[in-house]
């Protein structure tokens, strides 16, 4: 459970960090909490509109393509691959943080490179999916997919899909940029000189948050 703390430790009498967390890391947590409300607002407005609409397209009918498989009907397969890529890159990120704790500069480099590759792979998948949907006629304001009961669907479906996955994709993109900067700093020995790898931890928190949001996007758009 919570961190082991010596009995009778006086956290609030000064001279100590009351949460036992470095300032920047704590602020990263609070930033992520505010960001979760931004994403929450997006997803809840999507849910609210969906509840206020009679019909809705069946995601298994919309998201069923896979690269190089042409017209084969493969619902959920591609998005499962994307989910796997993002979970995997989260794992390599924690491994980088763990390597940082042990002061292992070489391993941090290795795992940061793997995390960046994972992020780029996810972005490539998303680029392919967007391109594919665009060629099917879907875009903001255009929805070629009928509702599950074959009645005409509103463009809210595509509007929300592109806005929310786009906003998430932008987070992944900025996460990759942050990770690249961390990699360069690590290669230049900045953290080794400082004696700690807290910057890697902060970048890691952001990266896991991106994974966390994807868990909800995956459920809201592809499963429900």
């Amino acid at each position: 459970m919570a961190q082991a703390v010596p009995a009778g430790q006086k956290w609030w009498s000064g001279g100590k960090s009351p949460f036992n967390v470095e300032y920047g890391k704590l602020m990263m947590w609070y930033f992520l909490m505010s960001d979760s409300f931004t994403f929450g607002a997006f997803l809840i407005s999507y849910g609210s509109i969906r509840f206020a609409t009679n019909g809705w397209p069946n995601p298994n009918e919309v998201f069923k393509a896979f690269p190089f498989f042409g017209e084969t009907n493969l619902p959920l397969v591609f998005v499962s691959l994307m989910t796997f890529i993002l979970i995997m890159s989260s794992v390599t990120m924690v491994l980088a943080v763990a390597a940082g704790h042990n002061g292992d500069q070489k391993k941090v480099t290795l795992y940061m490179i793997l995390t960046i590759i994972g992020g780029l792979a996810f972005l490539s998948c998303q680029a392919w999916e967007w391109t594919h949907l665009y060629h099917e006629g879907a875009w903001w304001g255009r929805n070629p997919f009928p509702n599950a009961d074959m009645s005409k669907a509103s463009t809210n479906f595509t509007n929300f899909f592109f806005t929310i996955t786009g906003f998430h994709g932008f987070h992944v993109f900025s996460g990759v940029i942050i990770n690249v900067i961390m990699l360069i700093m690590n290669l230049r020995g900045t953290f080794a000189k400082k004696g700690h790898y807290l910057m890697i931890e902060k970048a890691g928190l952001y990266w896991h948050f991106v994974d966390l949001v994807w868990v909800f996007v995956f459920t809201c758009f592809y499963l429900l």
Partner: protein, 137 residues
């Protein structure tokens, strides 16, 4: 600020081993596979019903979120007061989700009841996209 000490975070310590990381990875992977399997079974057999299925999805999603926050983001290992400053505001989501979905549902019910045109729109079927040239299937 740099004079204020935090313990354990800036020096190597043994508690951060890689075993729980991989355990969390397998848990997340298995939950995702269960979700996909259930979705596939539902597509083929219409069992379990969509409402039951959505409930299962939401529970599994929350489980995944818990493991990512607790283990990957390491929040479980922080001091309790700090966990609470994150967890308590996050409880707003409970009201947030309930209120807005309820509102959306109520708006839809009102329109179906009082707006004939809106209610009729749903009875108009579009032609199968399959019949258009260049569309899949």
């Amino acid at each position: 600020m740099s004079s204020i000490e935090t313990t354990g975070h800036d020096k190597p310590h043994a508690s951060f081993d890689t075993k729980p990381i991989w355990r969390t990875f397998w848990i997340l992977l298995v939950i995702t596979l269960v979700e996909i399997t259930l979705a596939t079974i539902h597509m083929k057999t219409d069992f379990p019903s969509k409402y039951v299925l959505n409930g299962i999805y939401l529970i599994l999603t929350c489980a995944k979120a818990f493991y990512i926050i607790a283990e990957f983001m390491h929040l479980r290992h922080e001091i309790k007061n700090m966990i609470m400053t994150i967890a308590v505001p996050a409880c707003l989501f409970i009201w947030f989700i309930l209120a807005f979905l309820w509102d959306g549902g109520s708006y839809n019910a009102l329109r179906n009841r009082y707006d004939r045109h809106y209610a009729d729109q749903n009875k108009v079927k579009v032609e199968q996209p399959a019949e258009k040239p260049g569309k899949p299937e």
